[in-house]
Assembly symmetry: C2
Homo-oligomer: 356 residues x 2
DNA sequence: CTGAAAGCGCTTACAG
DNA sequence: CTGAAAGCGCTTACAG
């Protein structure tokens, strides 16, 4: 029963408070509070006595009590649509990192793309008094829901998925330019029939990336046929299905721009299983540059958006609105760059020849 | 300036409290508190009036204040050693899920295997008054550190990585039996020289899995040569290096038991790059059964430990010690099962023939 | 430089 | 059935 944290000053199981420290060092709790916040008002000798008592007692500051009194909070809600997706895991790490660096602490919720769950956790986070929320909205989240669940009084930044007409700040990569670069790269390699694989048109991210695909095609004087877009779940299994459909169509594409890396991984896998060699017989590019991409067979040519840093920006952006500096509806669009590896075929001997 | 949440009852930017609700419905705040906790003491008519005021005002319960008063907390610390590893991401999802189901909310920290960072977040979590902590300790964490940073007064359960001699509960898979089954499977397929690849002997998990590998070998009357163990970072890149070393040794192994799936993925990739076909020329098995495993080339034979469920158990186990029912030092070891896919070679025609 | 008092938003005996 | 009072662990003017 000899609890280490309370051993020297108080008995019982009761946690040590500033009152205990005050008594132990013969000052008032006001003074203890002052030394805790590092005030220069306190005489050095007094400070030393108090700090000594703190040390000996194993006192732990109660941030919840302090925050209640100050009517502010050190908690930030981090709501992630699918933590199981390596892309979002990396995003989460970026956000979390920045949060701790600024003295905030994240409450995590993984909505798993479930909007009902999202409503629940949003309410729960508000009850816990979060100072703000950064979230990648669940698929299909609409502006009216968000405004109902998140009054504009609570600082919020949306990340990775735009919600049209929502009044919140947004941080995400330049999907359109990224997809445009990827497609253009394939065109320069000689491809003319380039399909877009994966995702659904209910996802703004897919819409943006398809725009980029279309841009590149049209710049090259190629018409972007609707039949070249094959939708699917944004997963490995989805990629496999999508490419199966695409390869079954009468006018086969010779290259594939994929919604994201896990779709592209599914695509390369399915292709290989059917004796079609990605990077040799056919070109494939992904999006996101997740850790797996470079270890794929073949290594994925993909669009890097520096996910970790983007997560950091999302957090910084939230601090902006928390401290009232920035307007609530600021947007930050991160630049992207193409990472050329092998799946596009650029490194292969046949690169440069015309595909037909 | 017309904030939706405070529109009808209070002016200014001040959030609505039970005092506002009390005033608006003509009762005392005690009564409001009673209806909030669903007490049957309150007369139906009074309750209706109060609930109406709550509804109209957009009142949000302040759990922090309630918890301060009740001296308990709804927060649980979830410290993860590497969220970027798909295995731990899945574990985190399992924990998070169970936490919300019991009305707790997780504070996330990704230590990224950094023990200094781990100390910091542990302290931060204590300051935020978490009711308990579930953590996968950073590599190299030792018992004395843990006991210094986590007095036994705070309910803690360790997961996935044992810390020898630490006084906390532990939840993890049966590493030894899992690795034993995997190795045995390879032996039954005709292999005699089976290497163990990846991880470091400073990791208890690696030690446990090597034990299992040794068990199977010895059961089959094969001596477990130390030279057959190649250590490496437990990553895809680590797997590639390890197998390179292994293939360079004079007495080559014909099969590889890998520390985990990402190591195995690196191994299959490196092998393929060198013209050695995993699942045909050589057998490979992983551990964890992460989502990527079945989409690998070739699909990975691996040990499944139901990570999601194990995460749930870790959380449940924590509730056990929070509610004082269970002893602090209870352990739960989850059963594992072998998932046979293609990388082991079982599905290939040559299966059954002797390897030499 | 230090202390007494009030208050953050709740809950919980205790009266009535 | 309902209200007044005390208190959870802090901070912050305000005196002295």
């Amino acid at each position: 029963m000899n609890e280490s944290r309370t051993a020297s000053i108080v008995g019982g199981g009761r946690p040590v408070t500033i009152v205990d420290i005050a008594r132990a060092s013969g000052v008032s709790k006001s003074t203890v509070s002052l030394v805790l916040k590092g005030s220069r008002l306190v005489k050095a000798e007094t400070r030393a006595r108090v700090e000594d008592a703190i040390e000996r007692s194993g006192y732990i500051y109660n941030r919840g009590a302090a925050n209640l009194r100050k009517s502010k909070s050190g908690l930030v809600g981090m709501v992630i649509s699918d933590l199981t997706n390596p892309f979002f895991a990396e995003l989460a790490v970026g956000i979390e990192n920045a949060l701790y660096q600024r003295g905030f602490v994240p409450i995590l919720a993984n909505t798993n793309e479930d909007r009902g769950r999202q409503s629940q956790v949003l309410r729960s986070m508000r009850e816990h008094g979060v100072a703000g929320i950064v979230m990648s909205p669940a698929r299909g989240t609409e502006a009216w829901q968000l405004t109902a669940e998140l009054p504009t009084t609570i600082p919020t930044v949306l990340t990775m998925r735009r919600v049209v007409d929502s009044p919140f700040s947004y941080v995400g990569p330049d999907n359109r330019t990224g997809a445009r670069m990827a497609t253009k790269h394939l065109i320069q390699l000689g491809h003319r029939r380039i399909a877009f694989l994966g995702g659904f048109s209910t996802m703004t991210t897919q819409l943006d990336r398809i725009e980029g695909w279309r841009d590149a095609l049209e710049e090259a004087g190629i018409t972007a046929e609707a039949a070249l877009v094959v939708e699917s779940m944004p997963t490995r299994a989805g990629g496999r299905e999508a490419v199966r459909v695409a390869m079954g169509s009468p006018k086969r594409a010779t290259a594939f721009v994929c919604y994201n890396d896990i779709v592209a991984i599914g695509v390369t896998r399915e292709l290989a299983l059917n004796g079609i060699r990605p990077g040799i017989d056919v070109g494939v590019v992904g999006f996101d540059d997740i850790a797996e991409a470079e270890h794929n067979a073949p290594p994925l040519t993909t669009v890097n958006a520096d996910t970790l840093r983007l997560g950091g920006f999302a957090a910084e952006s939230l601090f902006g609105v928390i401290h009232g500096g920035r307007a609530q509806t600021m947007s930050f669009i991160g630049t992207t760059r193409l990472v050329v590896r092998e799946s596009c075929g650029a490194l292969h001997a046949s690169a440069g020849k015309e595909f037909v």
